[in-house]
Each structure stands twice: as structure tokens, then as C-alpha cells.
């Protein structure tokens, strides 16, 4: 790499520049490196433990790519039948697909192969769990608000594709457990009205199981989905940099600034180090905890099955949908509408879509067009928090439904009881969760209000000269007063009078009415406790004897 000597005739050089600087200048002259670094090298990131959840996702995704590339070196995405002659005794002479046999080879003969397989699988579970927890952090703190709505959708899409990336991945070894999941997929595809049988024939290259699905899943798993996901991850990160990270309210923190530590050196070291910590933790888990031991399950055969068959956890809620749905079939005019399977198949994306569209509903209801960089405390948005908890409650109810057999055997319950409970719970549990959460939020708001106006309970009981006992309340510091009162409180939208000032009838359309109604539900007097005003505070704190 030649740094030309004629670059700076005006410079008065005192000896050669360091090599690093020469490389940087070479790159700068070609791609504008310095201009890029100007706003990013010392970029400020705020600190909070919950901000590392997204990092866990990013790092587990990176680990998945690293270990995934390794696995492709040994895995054979082929359904050609072979007879097993490897070191694992119980399967000697058993017929299996090449995919299964090569996974056995990775697990028993390739040194370190089992470790990488287990790191890969554990990372996948952690990746998706991380995405859901990260999404919930973003949801409950309102970090999805303008200008971050697009990034919310990017993240949601990553979660959605991530689930299918996981499914196509664990289906590749063609073992008895995952094959059962693929068979379920065939049944689900067949339930599609009109085109179901065609889709199934194309997916499996004929009748199930055929010889096609492992190579097709492989191509999707290692090329199509990771390609899309890598693009989304990069876009997600670019937007995080562009918007600058959100921050919680606090001393010196405003909507107009971001307070924290610079990328170089603090976050380079902390976040870079955290990658190694995540990788190290997953490596330790993979060393001590077996995951997906395909050798105990045996190769897939459509006429065999094991009991207690469960998908990986993130598919559990779709399993719940399919298990608790009544087996409705409508037969008419020589055709069958398989509602018992098709309804869950359609509800599955709808459950996920409900959380995806929420930010847009909220911004429509509030009509708030401002940018928001200070995070909400969940209690100050009772309806949003209630909706999020209701969504989680639905998710976990369905997870219970997905493991109804395990719940039945472990807790000695009848499977009918569990299934019926989940059927009813599907509608009731989210409603109850919403209501309870909203009440809790309002209670916490009241407590905040009391704390601001009367100070913190110290637990010290004082006896006054005339015999009265009082608890000493300690006034809050200014930072705490600020944090507890920094949030906006919206006013519900008013439709306005039915007639305008000239007496002409002015009918509000159904959309306007819906919006006003939602707005009342979000921000009406039953949905928020008025935060203390300065006047109230002054009145209480100015008098003596108050506590």
C-alpha cells in the first residue's frame, strides 16, 4: 500500500506517520472514512442494563453465522438413504437419510463437531428469546415512537423470520422429532383452501416426505433467510446510530440530547467485550447441557413417533393454537374447508402482527407528531403496558396449550381440563391481564404522586409532644422529583360540538368517533392519575406540620 509522497506538499513532516494513520488516510481518500467517523467514532451511547438485550441478539446472531458456516462444512443436505455404520451402537445397520447420518457424523466423529452443533442450537434459542425480551423492553418503554417506527418493524421482521429460520434449521437433521414437525407442516399446508395440495406437492417434490425438503430447507436456512436477516440487522444498526439511542429521564437528560459514554473507547470495549462474554457463556452451556440429541430419537419414519414431542420453545405458541383449536371441518360441494388446522395457521401470524401494528395505532390515537427520545416508565402508560402484558399473557397461555401433554403428566391434570382451560383462557386471560396491569400501573402512579408531594416513607416513627405518632417522610431530591414528573400526560381527543358556530350540523365520521373513543380509553380519567403540579407541590411543602 503506497501512501504517495506528494500528498501534502505544504505539510511540514517531522518523520514518517504511523502505519495506522497511513492506512486510515489511504482509505479516507477512497471512501471518505474520516467523514464517516466524524459523527460516529465518539458517538454517545447512554447506559442502562436493558440496552444490552439487543446486543445479546446481535451477538447470538453473529455466533449463529460463525458456527453455521462450520456446520455446512460437514453436513450433507441430502435425503439419499444410507445404512448407518458409525460408532453409535444402537443405530447400527439402521436406514436413514444422509442428512441424519452426517449429523451423526458431526456429533460422534468430528472432533468439536458436537460442541459447535450445540453452540449453534443454544444460540438459536437465545437469539429468539433475546429478540422477544428486547422487543418487550422497546415496547414497554415506548422506544418504538417517532422516529423509530421503522426500526420497530425491522426488529419485528427479524423475530418473525428468525422463528422460521430456527424451524428450518432444526428440521435439517431429519430425525424423528423434527420430521414429526415437518409432517405437521405438510398437514398445515394441506389445509390451505384451493391450493393446499399443490403447495404440498411442490414443497415436498411430490408426496410427503419425498426427497426434497431437506435440500430446500437447507437453501432457505443457510442462504435466503440469513441473507435477509443480515440485511435487516445492518439496517437496524444503522438506524440505531442515526437516531442515537433513547435514554431514560434523569438529571441532565432531555429530548434534545443524549448523555452517556463515547463509542471509542468505552463502548468499543464494553460492547466488544460483551460479545465474548455472550459467546463464552453459550460455549459453557454447550459444554455441559446436551441439546437436541438426535441419536436418542432416531431417523425419521412417517409411521413412528415419540411421545412428548415438542417443537423448540419459540414455536410453542403456534403448537398451542393447533392443539386447542376444535377440529372443525366444513364439507360442501365436494370440497373440505379444514378450519381446525387453517384457523390456527392464520391466527399464528395475527398474534404476532398484533404487537407489530400497535405503535401505529398508538400514534394514530394520540395524534402526537413529535420525536420521542426519552423513554417512558411503563406505569405512566397504563393502556400500552396493559396491552403488552395482555399480549404476553396470550403468548404464555398458548405456550401452556402447546405443552398440554407435559402439563398433564407433570401436574397430574387431565388433558381435557388443560385444553378447555386454554380455549377459554385464550379469550379471558389477556382481558384479565390487561385489566390487572392497568390497575397496577394506576396504583404505581398514585404512589409516585404521593412520593412527589409527601416525600419518601422513611420507616421512622416520631412521637410529637402532644402524643401523636407520625411517620417521618423524607422529601425527594430534585433529580427524583424531575424523573417522577417528567412524563407528558395526554388529554383525550374531543370530537367537538355536533354543530359548528353557524349552526350547521357537523357529523363526526365513524373513524373520528373510534379515534376519540380509543383516545378516551387511553388517556381518559380512568386511565391516568394526574401528575402533581408545581402549585400542589408548593402548597403542601410550604406549610409546616405537613409530612
Amino acid at each position: 500500500m503506497s501512501t504517495s509522497t506528494e500528498t501534502a506538499p505544504t505539510s511540514t513532516r517531522r518523520g514518517p506517520k504511523p502505519a495506522g494513520q497511513r492506512v486510515a488516510e489511504w482509505a479516507d481518500a477512497r471512501v471518505g472514512l474520516y467523514k464517516l467517523g466524524k459523527s460516529n467514532l465518539r458517538k454517545i451511547f447512554p447506559d442502562h442494563w436493558s440496552f444490552m438485550l439487543g446486543e445479546i441478539c446481535l451477538y447470538s446472531f453473529t455466533i449463529l453465522i460463525l458456527t453455521g458456516v462450520y456446520l455446512t462444512l460437514f453436513f450433507h443436505p441430502s435425503m439419499n438413504e444410507v445404512v448407518y455404520h458409525g460408532p453409535y451402537g444402537p443405530l447400527q445397520g439402521v436406514r436413514m437419510s444422509d442428512a441424519y447420518a452426517s449429523t451423526m457424523h458431526i456429533s460422534f466423529e468430528v472432533r468439536g463437531g458436537l460442541l459447535i452443533r450445540q453452540i449453534h442450537h443454544w444460540s438459536a434459542l437465545i437469539f429468539i428469546a433475546g429478540m422477544i425480551v428486547h422487543m418487550m423492553r422497546v415496547f414497554f418503554t415506548g422506544a418504538f415512537r417517532k422516529p423509530r417506527e421503522l426500526n420497530w418493524l425491522f426488529g419485528w421482521t427479524l423475530l418473525f423470520i428468525g422463528m422460521f429460520e430456527g424451524f428450518t434449521g432444526y428440521s435439517l437433521p431429519d430425525d424423528l422429532l423434527s420430521g414429526t414437525g415437518v409432517r405437521f407442516t405438510e398437514g398445515a399446508v394441506l389445509s390451505t383452501p384451493v391450493v393446499g395440495t399443490y403447495l404440498s406437492m411442490f414443497l415436498f417434490g411430490g408426496e410427503f416426505p419425498g426427497h426434497n425438503f431437506v435440500p430446500i430447507f437447507y437453501s432457505v436456512h443457510i442462504l435466503l433467510f440469513p441473507g435477509i436477516m443480515a440485511g435487516l440487522v445492518v439496517a437496524h444498526l444503522i438506524l440505531v446510530f442515526y437516531h442515537k439511542h433513547t435514554q431514560f429521564p434523569g438529571a441532565g437528560k432531555t429530548e434534545k440530547n443524549v448523555v452517556g459514554m463515547p463509542l471509542l473507547p468505552i463502548y468499543t470495549a464494553k460492547a466488544g467485550g460483551f460479545f465474548f462474554l455472550v459467546f463464552g457463556a453459550i460455549a459453557a452451556i454447550a459444554a455441559i447441557a446436551t441439546i437436541n440429541p438426535i441419536w436418542t430419537m432416531g431417523p425419521y419414519r412417517p409411521d413412528q413417533v415419540s411421545t412428548g414431542a415438542q417443537p423448540d420453545w419459540y414455536m410453542g405458541f403456534s403448537e398451542g393454537l393447533i392443539r386447542v383449536m376444535p377440529g372443525w371441518e366444513i364439507n360442501a360441494w365436494g370440497h373440505t374447508l379444514v378450519l381446525g388446522v387453517f384457523v390456527p395457521l392464520m391466527v399464528f401470524p395475527l398474534v404476532l402482527a398484533a404487537i407489530a401494528v400497535y405503535p401505529f395505532i398508538e400514534s394514530w390515537v394520540t395524534g402526537d407528531k413529535r420525536e420521542h427520545h426519552l423513554l417512558d416508565r411503563p406505569r405512566n402508560r397504563p393502556v400500552r403496558t396493559g396491552f403488552g402484558v395482555a399480549w404476553l399473557a396470550l403468548y404464555f397461555t398458548l405456550l401452556i396449550g402447546g405443552g398440554n401433554d407435559l402439563w398433564a403428566t407433570h401436574f397430574h391434570l387431565s388433558i381435557e381440563t388443560i385444553t378447555w382451560s386454554v380455549r377459554i383462557g385464550f379469550f379471558v386471560v389477556p382481558a384479565v391481564a390487561f385489566w390487572v396491569t392497568k390497575r397496577i400501573c394506576l396504583g404505581l402512579q398514585r404512589r409516585d404522586r404521593d412520593k412527589v408531594l409527601h416525600g419518601r416513607e422513611t420507616g421512622i416513627i416520631k412521637r410529637l409532644p402532644h402524643g401523636e405518632f407520625i411517620e417521618v417522610h423524607e422529601p425527594l431530591g430534585q433529580e427524583e422529583l424531575h424523573v417522577l414528573t417528567a412524563h407528558d400526560q395526554y388529554k383525550p381527543l374531543e370530537i367537538g360540538p355536533e354543530t359548528d358556530e353557524n349552526g350547521v350540523e357537523r357529523k363526526a365520521g365513524p373513524v373520528t368517533r373510534l379515534r376519540a373513543r380509543l383516545s378516551r380509553n387511553f388517556y381518559g380519567e380512568h386511565s391516568q392519575i394526574p401528575k402533581p403540579t408545581v402549585e400542589e407541590y408548593d402548597e403542601i411543602t410550604s406549610g409546616d406540620g405537613h409530612h
Binding site: 405437521f184 394441506l190 393446499g196 395440495t197 404440498s200 441532565g252 468505552i266 455441559i288 414431542a309 408545581v534
Partner: protein, 355 residues
């Protein structure tokens, strides 16, 4: 992007609003007890003022990095030392692969050493002074917006997109049609369904074969209360389409007391109380395999659909939408159980054309 970063070195306090700074001491300042108190003053850590403490941190960080190096050496050593098929007992994990266990833990050590070292370095030795960047709204100012609108209009005008409707419409038509080739070209992924899902390998006269012994099943092989599996005669594990065939033809056979059989058709298709049903669940295709002999119920282990084998295998619980198809059986001259025909209705999950 912003021009931030450049003023990180300056005093952060100068960017902050002055509200609340007076701590209520002077009456002239606008009174706001809830106002933002501003950036708190930086507190120094021990390492910032005590070089000895800093040295200690330095040694800890270096120690962690050294630990990582030892981890990598351990990883290589484990790779060389432990054979891939060696199993050892490790409390409390039980018998584990020595290689997997040692590789995983040494790798973990190598990685955690780097991670913990870097984080400890950042926390104790790098500056922990909080800095402030300003934010800037993403949207353009009016001038830029006007410029962009003008440029866009100019470009559209020069293209003639709005004026030459024929060009526009034919282009949109062409762009709409061209993805069709991408759909059409997928056609050869598989054959058309035709009536493939309606037929199985069963046919009149085909014997019920015990898949374990590869011998024909005889009525006396099937005791009351047990569940026996069967596959059609001529189906060979080595044949290329075995998996496709068994996915439809898998059969379960049970013997009931004829007086227990409630369904008339079931009784007429049975032989001495022996009835044969498709093993493939009509929900989404798992093999139904859990038999409860007292009640004659079979349960699918995947989604818990339950069928009553004494009543035409009707669904009594769970998400399945219709009965398990029954296979009409009898015995042939040699006393073996045989099918009297293929299944009358399609086996397995329902589909649009099933009817």
C-alpha cells in the same frame, strides 16, 4: 448526520439548561421544583486518583487476558489429548463426552477472559465521564424540502412519465407481468396432486405384514387388548418410495370383542373382532400410537386427538376433524389377514379436494 463528537472534549455542562441550578436559593430564578437539575458533577473513581488502584486494575485486566490465552492453549490441548469417543463421569452432569466437555469449557474460558478483561478495562481504567451529544430531527428544513420537491418535479417532467400515458401504462403492464416467469419456473418443483392423496399401497388381497418379523399377520397373532402395527405386503424398506408409501399405508390392528363394536360398518369390515384402522392421524398426520385397552381409545401423541376404536374410530377429543379411515379386512385361504380393498376414503389430514 450530526457534527457531534467534536465537542465531546469540551465541558459537558455548557450544553445544559440552567434550570434548577440555583437549588431554590435565590428568588429571582423561575421556580420549578420538578425542573431538570442538570448534569450531575463527575465523581472520580479510586483508579482516577490513586495510581496504585489503577495498577491493580491493570493487573486484573492483564490477568484476565492471560487466562484467555491459557484457555485457548487448553482448547488445543484438549483437542489433541481426548479421543472423540471418550466418556467421563462429571458431577453433577453425569457421563459426558470428555472432548465436548473440555473443548466447551476451555473455549468458554478463552472467550470470557477476553470479554471480562475488556469490560473491566472499560469500567476501571477508561474515562467514565459522561458526555453529551445533541440530537437533531431527521426531517429536512423547508429550504431543502423545496429543493428536493423541485428536483423531483424536474426529473419527472423530463421523463415525460405523466404526459406520455402510453409509455407509462405499457411499462407498468410489463413490470406487472414479468414476475409471472418467476412463478411459472417453480412449476417443476413437484408433480400435480391428481389423486395421489386418495390411494395407498393397500389393495384387495394384500396381506397384512408384521413390520418386525416381515411375516403375514394371522388372527391368532393378535390378542385382545394389544395394538399391533401392519404394513402392506410387497412394501420394502429398501425401495425408493418406502417413506412415501408408509406415510399413507401405516396400519394399526386391534382385536375387540365383537359385541363391543358399536358401529355396524366397523363390525362388517372386521374379522372375528379384529379391526384395522389407518395409523395416520386425520389432524395433521402424526402416527396415532397410544392405545388404551380398557376404553378402546387411541391417542395421537402429537396433539392429543383421541379416537374411539369401538365406534368407527370417531373423534372423541382433540383437534382432529374426522374419523380414522378403516381398512376392510378378512382372512385368505392360508389363514392370513388380508385387505379387501384400499381405504375407502383418503388417509391422513384433510385437504381442499377431500370432500
Amino acid at each position: 448526520m450530526s457534527d457531534t463528537g467534536s465537542h465531546n472534549v469540551s465541558e459537558p455542562h455548557e450544553h445544559l439548561p440552567a434550570t434548577g441550578a440555583a437549588h431554590g436559593a435565590s428568588a429571582e430564578v423561575r421556580h420549578d421544583p420538578f425542573g431538570n437539575p442538570g448534569h450531575p458533577e463527575h465523581e472520580f473513581r479510586r483508579q482516577d486518583i490513586d495510581e496504585k488502584a489503577a495498577k491493580h486494575s491493570e493487573r486484573v485486566v492483564a490477568g484476565l487476558f492471560t487466562l484467555s490465552m491459557l484457555g485457548t492453549l487448553g482448547f488445543i490441548a484438549s483437542f489433541v489429548i481426548f479421543p472423540v469417543d471418550k466418556y467421563i463421569y462429571v458431577f453433577p452432569f453425569g457421563h459426558v463426552s470428555a472432548l465436548n466437555f473440555s473443548l466447551g469449557l476451555t473455549l468458554s474460558l478463552a472467550l470470557v477472559g477476553i470479554g471480562a478483561g475488556a469490560v473491566h478495562w472499560a469500567r476501571t481504567l477508561m474515562s467514565d465521564e459522561e458526555l453529551t451529544d445533541e440530537r437533531h430531527a431527521a426531517d429536512a428544513d423547508d429550504e431543502l424540502r423545496a429543493t428536493m420537491e423541485a428536483q423531483w418535479k424536474q426529473g419527472v417532467k423530463e421523463s415525460g412519465f405523466g404526459r406520455r400515458k402510453l409509455v407509462r401504462n405499457t411499462m407498468l403492464g410489463a413490470l406487472t407481468l414479468v414476475p409471472l416467469s418467476a412463478v411459472v419456473i417453480l412449476r417443476d418443483l413437484g408433480p400435480l396432486p391428481e389423486d395421489k392423496l386418495r390411494h395407498t399401497a393397500w389393495a384387495k388381497g394384500k396381506a397384512l405384514i408384521n413390520p418386525n418379523t416381515n411375516k403375514p399377520l394371522r388372527p391368532e397373532d393378535i390378542p385382545v387388548g394389544s395394538l399391533t402395527f401392519a404394513q402392506p405386503e410387497g412394501l420394502n424398506e429398501e425401495s425408493d418410495d418406502f417413506q412415501q408409501q408408509i406415510a399413507k399405508a401405516a396400519l394399526m390392528v386391534v382385536r375387540l370383542k365383537p359385541e363391543d363394536i358399536k358401529d355396524k360398518k366397523e363390525l362388517s369390515w372386521s374379522h372375528e373382532g379384529i379391526v384395522a384402522f389407518s395409523k395416520i392421524c386425520t389432524h395433521v398426520g402424526c402416527p396415532v400410537s397410544l392405545y388404551e385397552q380398557q376404553t378402546h381409545h387411541v391417542l395421537c401423541p402429537c396433539h392429543q386427538s383421541t379416537f374411539d376404536l369401538s365406534d368407527g374410530a370417531r373423534v372423541i377429543f382433540g383437534p382432529a376433524g374426522h374419523r380414522l379411515p378403516q381398512l376392510h379386512i378378512s382372512v385368505n385361504g392360508e389363514g392370513n389377514l388380508v385387505a379387501m380393498s384400499d381405504f375407502e376414503v383418503p388417509v391422513g389430514p384433510a385437504f381442499w379436494e377431500r370432500g
